[in-house]
């Protein structure tokens, strides 16, 4: 056996989205459309304090004046913001006290996703905050975290229980005026996660949230806020899958990370939303604003493995404000069929002796377009700033595209910036070599691709890395070229 471009094209068409199923839980949702009334409805539903409602309304006013950005290397039909349901909560609003109380259907969903919480709890000690259609339905390991003074809860709970922390930090890294989608999120966000690590505390387990978009046509507007107080450490995992849908689903999340002096935050994402079918129909629009700020000697690492979504627009960034702070970005972005990804990072060096590292691995298959867009900005006072960027692209076919847009703005002559970029096509010689050793084509590709992404996968916590490898294999099934 072997492959030709034609066979390849056929193989790719036969791919189906493995996680395409819908959980049938009745939901309590707002009417479609966006106006001040809807925002008041959400805020009231969530029993929010006045300041938060004002925050939302101000964001909404700002958003109305803004236009959707056009500069990303992606093409899509703009979502109709009046045709989206902005609030949808599972009807069963009671929080689960124990795992036994959890809706069996929900458990089934998780099982299909291969992330059985029981197993996760037993094997890995991961505390999972499972967000399903905007409302957190299960939170575990809370007690243990509480002992250490660690707060890990849904954003809504945080608003009720830790309003001062939320008020102080929310919008401090991503202002509501930041961009079109961040403004939209600020106006209509429904839930998300909140995490606070007290001074000097090292969080003993990976904090993990599985996001899942479930209700057809429900836009998902998550907000995540992670605050690592002085000298603390936390590793946070975010993973997502979405069921198969015909209409495009919009996802516009905001993630804010705050690493105070000497603190470290590791934020890892595996993103696996429905990418659309072989003809480019359906799929999730993923427009995310992720940003972290590092105070003195603090460190933030973003690691992401992106295989899903029809259109991805995402630039996890670091503001290196404090002297000697460190920002890292490790990314694998896979696109297949008609997927489009425009992703990268921004490293903003404000403090002295700040250091950033960017490792980006793009993999394009089918007819997809994969772009890396990175900005390294060295400000006037950032003496001795260092950056190292490496952007590699791997092409699986002759019909896909890889694009690299590295931007550098340097206002301090003591800065040292290194940039390396490569583009290669997956080697027929490599595949033949594997086949000759008895390894099937699928496995061969999976091996080669995982090897290519190794530097990034190595950054992920062990269990997550295994899942990420599986995802890479699934999303590239049959995509030889």
């Amino acid at each position: 056996m072997g492959y030709t471009e034609n066979e390849l094209a056929k193989d790719l068409e036969n791919q189906e989205y493995k996680f395409g199923f819908v959980t049938n839980i009745e939901s309590d949702k707002a009417p479609k459309g966006l106006n001040e009334g809807i925002i008041r409805f959400i805020s009231e539903k969530k029993n929010e304090p006045e300041w938060l409602l004002e925050f939302r309304l101000k964001a909404f006013e700002t958003w109305k004046e803004m236009t959707e950005p056009e500069w990303a290397h992606v093409h899509y039909e703009k979502p109709d913001f009046q045709d989206i349901t902005y609030y949808s909560a599972p009807k069963q609003t009671k929080k689960y006290e124990s795992w036994d109380d959890v809706d069996p259907e929900l458990k089934e969903t998780m099982k299909k996703l291969g992330i059985s919480m029981e197993e996760q709890q037993r094997l890995t000690g991961v505390a999972v905050d499972f967000v399903m259609d905007s409302v957190s339905v299960a939170t575990s390991f809370k007690a243990k975290l509480k002992e250490l003074g660690i707060v890990f809860c849904s954003f809504s709970d945080a608003v009720q229980e830790y309003p001062d922390l939320v008020k102080k930090y929310m919008g401090s890294v991503v202002p509501m005026t930041d961009n079109f989608y961040a403004a939209l999120n600020s106006a209509v966000f429904t839930d998300g996660s909140f995490c606070y690590i007290p001074k000097g505390v090292r969080c003993p387990m990976e904090l993990s949230t599985y996001f899942r978009i479930n209700e057809g046509g429900t836009g998902q507007f998550e907000r995540t806020l992670v605050v690592a107080d002085e000298g603390s450490y936390v590793s946070y995992l975010e993973g997502c899958t979405a069921p198969q849908r015909d209409e495009n689903q919009l996802h516009a999340a905001v993630v804010e990370l705050i690493a105070l002096d000497h603190a470290e935050i590791k934020y890892s994402t595996v993103q696996n939303w429905y990418p659309g079918d072989k003809d480019g129909k359906g799929g999730v629009f993923n427009f995310v604003t992720k940003r972290g700020v590092c105070e003195k000697q603090a460190k933030i690492s973003w690691t992401q493995v992106e295989t899903g979504s029809a259109v991805t627009w995402k630039y996890p960034s670091c503001i290196l404000k404090g002297d000697y702070s460190i920002g890292e970005f490790y990314s694998v972005a896979v696109t297949n069929n008609y997927q489009q990804a425009d992703t990268g990072t921004k490293m903003v060096h404000l403090g002295k002796n700040t250091k950033s590292t960017i490792i980006s691995k793009g993999i394009s298959a089918g007819k997809s377009q994969n772009s890396y867009r990175g900005l390294v900005q060295i400000h006037k006072n950032a003496s001795n700033a260092r950056n190292f960027s490496q952007c590699d692209s791997l092409l699986m076919t002759d019909e896909c595209g890889a694009h690299t847009f590295p931007y550098i703005e340097c206002k301090n002559s003591s800065a040292k910036i290194e940039h390396e970029a490569t583009t290669s096509k997956i080697g027929e010689d490599q595949i033949f070599y594997c086949l000759q050793r008895g390894i099937s084509e699928e496995k061969a590709i999976s091996l080669i691709v995982n090897g290519y992404c190794k530097e990034v996968l190595n950054q992920l916590p062990m269990e997550f890395a295994v899942e990420a490898q599986k995802l890479l294999a699934i999303s590239l099934e049959g995509s030889v070229g």
């Binding site: 072997g2 033949f432 050793r437 008895g438 390894i439 091996l447 995982n450 190794k454």
Partner: protein, 253 residues
């Protein structure tokens, strides 16, 4: 073991193998020699199942199976191994991971359970000692940054791990110094058994001082034009290939 009859193969419309015949029985070592461009690597590639080559005529029987009908990976799983003339690098994939995948795919094909981690590592230690391969190389990425000699030794290590029925060594000796040559040959000799066979493709007779062939064949212009006992290799070494070319060309004229 393998019976090749009237094999014709071409690439990009150019015929390279022009009616090749060769039979190798279990327990035998055959050396194939011949000038550059004669088609030696082509023969190896065609047997291994490289897609670029078009088979225009002929048949190959491999242990009762029609080899040409089999997929590349099934040929390997049935016990055909090619030590590449130019082994490729697979960055980021450790040798052990690569081999474990291969071993388990072959086992699955044969209906066996995956090998246990313990047994596998035991085997790695044993076989890497056999070819005096630095154990560090076993955990490094496949051939990445290996010297020419290390790559060749790694091929023999892989062969030892996979225990093929028929091994084809394509110029495994080229680029090796005398010590490495001895090690590689030693490895091959230790793996020799009445159940398996080996085709050694080489340019020089010096490898055949270490691996004693039962038969020596001369491949020229896409055909086996002369076969003989191991002494033929010495004769070739002494006289070069010109006399053979002349012999063949005069017959054809």
């Amino acid at each position: 073991m393998i019976k090749i009859e009237n094999l014709h193969a071409s690439i990009e419309g150019k015929e390279i193998l022009k009616g090749l015949n060769l039979t190798v029985n279990a327990g035998e070592v055959h050396a194939i020699m011949g000038p550059n461009g004669a088609g030696k690597s082509t023969l190896a590639s065609v047997l291994a199942g490289r897609e670029e080559y078009e088979i225009t005529a002929g048949s190959v029987d491999f242990d009762g199976n029609d080899l040409l009908e089999m997929s590349t990976e099934d040929r390997a799983r049935e016990g055909l191994f090619l030590a590449f003339q130019y082994p490729v690098e697979i960055p980021g994939v450790s040798n052990v991971n690569f081999l474990k995948t291969a071993v388990n795919e072959i086992r699955e094909y044969k209906g066996l359970e995956p090998i246990s981690a313990k047994d596998f590592m035991q085997k790695v230690r044993e076989k890497s000692a056999l070819v005096e391969l630095d154990s560090k190389l076993a955990s490094r990425a496949v051939n990445e940054g290996f010297s020419g000699g290390e790559k060749k030794r790694n091929e023999i290590f892989q062969m030892a791990m996979l225990e093929p029925k028929l091994a084809i060594l394509d110029e495994t000796d080229s680029g090796l110094d005398i010590d490495a040559l001895r090690i590689v040959a030693n490895g091959v000799n230790k793996l020799k058994s009445p159940e398996n066979a080996c085709i050694v493709i080489t340019h020089y007779q010096r490898l055949l001082d270490y691996i004693i062939p039962d038969f020596v064949h001369v491949l020229y212009n896409g055909r086996i034009v002369k076969s003989g006992p191991k002494e033929l290799a010495l004769e070739l070494e002494e006289k070069g290939y010109d006399w053979i070319k002349e012999e063949v060309d005069s017959v054809n004229a």
